[in-house]
Symmetry: C2
Subunit: 210 residues, 2 copies
């Protein structure tokens, strides 16, 4: 049976709609009373796993899900060995460098060598500053990254920006964009190549007229 890993959070509603294009109904995950993490489509041809957005690439890489939906930001950060099949055209946001608006920094390269940058996306941040040849220290945080500059722990942050509201509320401004992100359909490369459980058929239905 085809298994698809769906991300909790901001991408879930659009992901479930996408599955509906392929005739798969996982709308039970949207019900506030649902506690199940694994449900079968009523027609019995597929099942879905409801997992943390960062865990989607793991379930797909290890073959417990044939397909998955994950933000490009998560794919860049996790570097899982999975096939990126299609940009799904929703969940737009960007990975940015931000600093306090009254700081003197207006580009990443303005930051002091050996400065500190706080981020949930440690690998993305490291790559960005390595490419600039700027030896900053990347400090991993799990939440409320904006507290880094507010408390004076870090000169800057690397974080996902969607509307920019959180940055504005915390007196921060974007000074560089690392990349744009949106939701991607991903697959386990081997299962996809073998077209197990008609993966290709589902992918075609999900991505037609996308």
């Amino acid at each position: 049976m085809l298994t698809i890993a769906l991300p909790k959070g901001a991408l879930l509603k659009d992901s479930i709609e996408l599955c509906q294009k392929a005739g798969l109904d996982f709308s039970l995950f949207l019900s506030s009373s649902n506690r199940q993490l694994q449900i079968e489509d009523p027609t019995g041809v597929a099942k879905a796993l409801l997992v943390r957005a960062q865990d989607v690439p793991v379930y797909v890489e290890y073959g417990q899900a044939h397909l998955g939906i994950a933000g490009y930001d998560v794919l860049k950060e996790k570097k899982a060995n999975i096939a990126h099949l299609a940009d799904l055209g929703f969940g737009y946001c960007r990975m940015s460098v931000a600093v306090p608006k009254d700081s003197p920094y207006r580009k990443s390269i303005d930051l002091p060598a050996h400065g500190i940058v706080a981020s949930k996306f440690v690998n993305c941040a490291k790559e960005h500053f390595r490419a600039l040849d700027l030896p900053v220290e990347i400090v991993p945080l799990y939440g409320s990254v904006e507290l880094g500059p507010i408390t004076g722990m870090s000169e800057a942050i690397v974080d996902l920006v969607s509307t920019g509201k959180t940055l504005r509320e915390n007196g921060l401004i974007e000074i560089d964009v690392l990349f744009e992100s949106s939701a991607y359909l991903v697959a386990n490369p081997l299962l996809y190549r073998l077209n197990r459980d008609n993966i290709a058929g589902f992918v075609e239905q999900m991505t037609v007229n996308n």
Copy 2:
């Protein structure tokens, strides 16, 4: 001004009560309408940062907080360079290995070499299996670790267990305890040694008759 990093989540209420023993009132963090991540005690002698439990050691290590309260599980996992001042006697739980109850494994060492263990506590899990000389693969997950064995991705999990309800609901049983955990008071070693902002005085009040 003394700054203390308090953990969001299960330890917050007891942490705030502990601060009250030292005359510091941060109960605003318990109000559901509060959106501030940084508040000052009404008497003006200290402030508190409200951060993710895993981020407490970071703010303390980098000196943005003199003191912090964090679970021993987080301290073991993050290995931050901070001083462990006192076991606070609340937030009891244990770090355990669990497997599906119908599996043949009854001790960690029964697990197959090159088996897979899913965990949010990658360092703790690695250390445990390294000490046993058992070459398992540790797969990092961010949430719902119990899905690892349910989907067949992993033979076992290493996770925090408090009441054991989540394990039971998912057909898992504990087969080994790595360590017991509880909340600890931690300090930045240098600031503590210099007794900045009377850290020692606050620590004494917080830990007396503990």
